[in-house]
Symmetry: C2
Subunit: 515 residues, 2 copies
């Protein structure tokens, strides 16, 4: 086989010492010399293997409490020299330096540290300098050197060594080099963003994001696209407890559903999502009532949708859910008997989101090699910020419904019109280039599915009405209170219309575009 490299000497410096014994027995089997540093050296000794301490190898004592250990030309020339290059080889010989053919390194646990402490000195001390340098050097020289950055790759490595009797293939080294640079880029991206936050450098000249692979998906938004789900955080807190693997579109709808659920009163909210838009949302302490109201807003669109419940589902609701076809049910846990009922449906996916508390403080829109990066639309509403501009003043219930409706707008694609009553959506008009069209859609939904209760409902608009035609249609349909940001040159005409029709008109002073 071409391009096999026999390993004679390995450098090991690992923060994660799990499964080290497996590696050591393999290295010992092929009589590979080991160089190691402080903690790793001790661990190797304790496991009953021999290794040379780096300071002995370089003849240069470890300095600055470990800040300078491996940053030595003897180490890096040993890694970085091209074995086929005569000049490199004569340089090596001249200095009496030796090849290092395998590097096993992982880093100081920076991410773990920022999750555990706010002590900034401790955080800074966990920025590894020597480790990333070893990894980058070994990965650069993958033609001659194997680099292993994670215990996850030990098995493959050992398998390779056993089959090839102490050698590795070029293909293996290439893969490992690519893993290594992903590891480094992720490590430094986390450090960079930690410093950006600390030093309030919110829009740096170069901005990096990273995530950990949670799951490769069967395909993407469409079957001809490949896809995977990544998480910025170390622990992914959604737990699938039943059903087939989730699809790309499932996940997208799940995250939409959870975003809305988080906004609703605790243990009281049901959201149904279809095609990344809510088809119905309702808040009620009574599970069945909450589910029914969300469902009845658009029972046709709810078919095959994703339900997100911010409460623990009980038996009664489980039976109710089983009357219909949904793809996914998300809940803050399931009662035992409820779970038993829901599990009867083989194709229904059940997600326990009890521990889900993700909270992005930014959002991103990717397009054509660019990204629009922004802080999240996470403004907290306060009744005091609202301005009641009509002569008719809202009742407490009306005001609560107006705020509820306006909050839902935040999650409906622009232009968004949301008609509500009793903390439940009656009609949602989404994603139209014309606001009047969104009004018409919301009204038609309410007239079709909730004709008996549209009278005296409230409506919210994610941005201002440019003309009085939208409010006019809504009022004609039975809406008696409207909330919108304000800002049109025709605001006065709209106030006049409200007063003429005794409609409540509230200015939120906040816009909620979402595209």
């Amino acid at each position: 086989m071409k391009n096999l490299v026999k390993i004679k000497r390995a450098l090991i410096s690992v923060s994660d010492k799990s499964s080290l014994n497996k590696i050591l027995s393999t290295l010992s089997k092929y009589k590979i010399e080991i160089i190691s540093s402080g903690g790793t050296f001790k661990k190797i000794e304790r496991l009953g293997y021999k290794s040379t301490e780096i300071s002995k190898f370089t003849n240069c004592t470890e300095m600055l409490n470990g800040r300078v250990k491996t940053l030595h030309p003897k180490i890096h020339a040993g890694i970085l020299n091209i074995r086929k290059n005569k000049k490199h080889q004569s340089d090596l010989k001249k200095n009496n330096y030796k090849n290092i053919d395998l590097v096993i390194v992982n880093f100081y646990p920076f991410e773990n540290t920022i999750q555990k402490t706010k002590n900034f000195n401790k955080i800074i001390e966990n920025i590894d300098i020597g480790g990333p340098t070893l990894v980058r050097a070994a990965a650069k020289n993958f033609k001659d050197v194997a680099i292993i950055t994670s215990p996850n790759n030990y098995e493959t490595f050992i398998h390779q060594m056993n089959i090839l009797k102490g050698s590795t293939t070029l293909q293996f080294r290439e893969q490992m080099a690519s893993y290594a640079f992903n590891e480094i880029a992720n490590y430094d991206s986390i450090i960079a963003n930690c410093l950006n936050n600390k030093f309030k450098n919110f829009f740096p000249h170069k901005k990096t994001f990273s995530g950990k692979l949670i799951e490769k998906l069967r395909y993407g938004e469409n079957p001809h696209q490949n896809a995977a789900l990544y998480s910025e955080l170390d622990n992914f807190s959604l737990k699938k407890i039943h059903g087939k693997p989730l699809s790309f579109n499932n996940y997208n709808d799940i995250f939409y559903g959870l975003s809305i659920s988080k906004l609703l009163k605790k243990n009281a909210g049901t959201v149904i999502i279809k095609h990344a838009n809510p088809s119905g949302v309702s808040e009620s302490k009574d599970q069945i009532k909450s589910f029914n109201s969300a469902f009845n807003c658009d029972p046709i669109s709810a078919f095959g949708g994703v339900i997100s419940c911010n409460y623990e589902i009980d038996k009664k609701l489980a039976n109710k859910i089983n009357d219909f076809f949904f793809e996914v049910v998300i809940a803050k846990g399931f009662k035992k008997d409820a779970l038993k009922i829901l599990k009867k449906k083989k194709n229904l996916r059940l997600i326990d989101a009890k521990n889900f508390n993700n909270k992005s403080n930014f959002s991103l829109l990717f397009n054509n090699n660019t990204f629009l990066y922004q802080s999240s639309d996470s403004l907290d509403f306060n009744k005091k910020n609202f301005e009641i501009v009509s002569k008719t003043k809202p009742s407490k219930n009306q005001m609560d419904d107006l705020i509820f409706a306006f909050n839902i707008c935040k999650f409906v694609r622009s232009n968004a019109i949301v008609i509500c009553k009793n903390k439940s959506t009656l009609g949602i008009g989404a994603g139209q280039p014309s606001r009047l069209d969104s009004c018409k859609i919301a009204i038609e939904k309410a007239n079709t599915f909730r004709p008996l209760i549209i009278e005296n409902s409230v409506a919210a608009s994610d941005a201002f009405f440019p003309f009085p035609d939208g409010p006019e249609k809504l009022i004609q349909a039975g809406v008696s209170s409207i909330i919108q940001p304000r800002g049109s040159i025709r605001d006065k005409e709209i106030i006049k219309l409200a007063n003429k029709t005794k409609t409540v008109l509230v200015f939120s002073k906040t816009r909620h575009f979402k595209h």
Copy 2:
């Protein structure tokens, strides 16, 4: 002032040697000793300043054609020691090492190299090892050391030095450390993704993305959000040649517009975008005809929209455009007299996209600290892949219109229904949880604005029709050819309906969800 650090010794190793003289004169003014490497050393000499070569400083010759220069404990202890730490200071003294208080380093031009060559050895050689180590070490020790990674920061540095007579503030060093880690993370993210592509590691365990700041924006999708535009590529090829700064929502619509424009026949396509959905699209070699058809699809929604023309705008069209209110006009250039006319409108933004050829091979959806990462929906259509399943066969014109309509579907939020005729949209139904509703919206648009030509039009659906009700409505409205992926258990009923009504029915076998 607290935490000022006086600079006595600087290490300089720069790939970008621009503006070096400015820095050198400042360093010389404050009698700062300089250590430098190969190319930088020569340049410093040529500029008439003195410096010590790193190999002399470390007493260790440069090795492996420059692969090992600065990876030496004398350098890194000089950078990394904590000046207040007694143990560190005694370590330093013992070895007779000296402090390095300023590090000015930028990296081998990796990104530039991958843009210029496909020679993989050359690419690999441009992975800088020593540079990033110096930068990471200096940035980690920002309490004592100043790190400068870009000539963009020379001015601030020089200003600081002059005011503080050779010292820097902690705040400055913190900012520079944060810049440095952004620089590193970006550099390694580009390397990681280059290796991922080369070694076909498309969904690595850790995935990093990065971009360069193009523009801080006045605000985000809404006024209470902060935002900026970033580009993955080094050169951002859109050129604003007139008008106020672009907003977040402008940019979003611009990228949508350009994506659609790219798909249309060269020098023949007009797209109007509103709220991240096309409100009209048309293909014709006659600019006025192309514009009129796109505009007339929904003249109300076009108000305040973004026009994207994949041709050079002439005087006649400029006059036409000025009859209406648009926020942005994008074109493949503007004739001189056209530009003069359009510039009369102060608030109209004009974008020259002549050099725009961005092409993402992936897309990302961010939500709640997660991201869904997928390959782009960039399938090339081929008539041969389509299956004509109705007895009535399409004419060449119908087939062309079907393909046109189906391609537009790709850019319309799901569920998407697009009615077309003569390579122009007549009605677009976007973003509805129910496919039937999207049909109704598309039909209503066509009936409202293009009632005279809806007869014998074609319709495309981004995903399969679950029931025959959607096609039924379309056929009743005048549609005589329909394209859709197939896949419903009721496909046969829909074929039957097509045959009964002598409608052309084509299965694309491809889905185009977009959320």
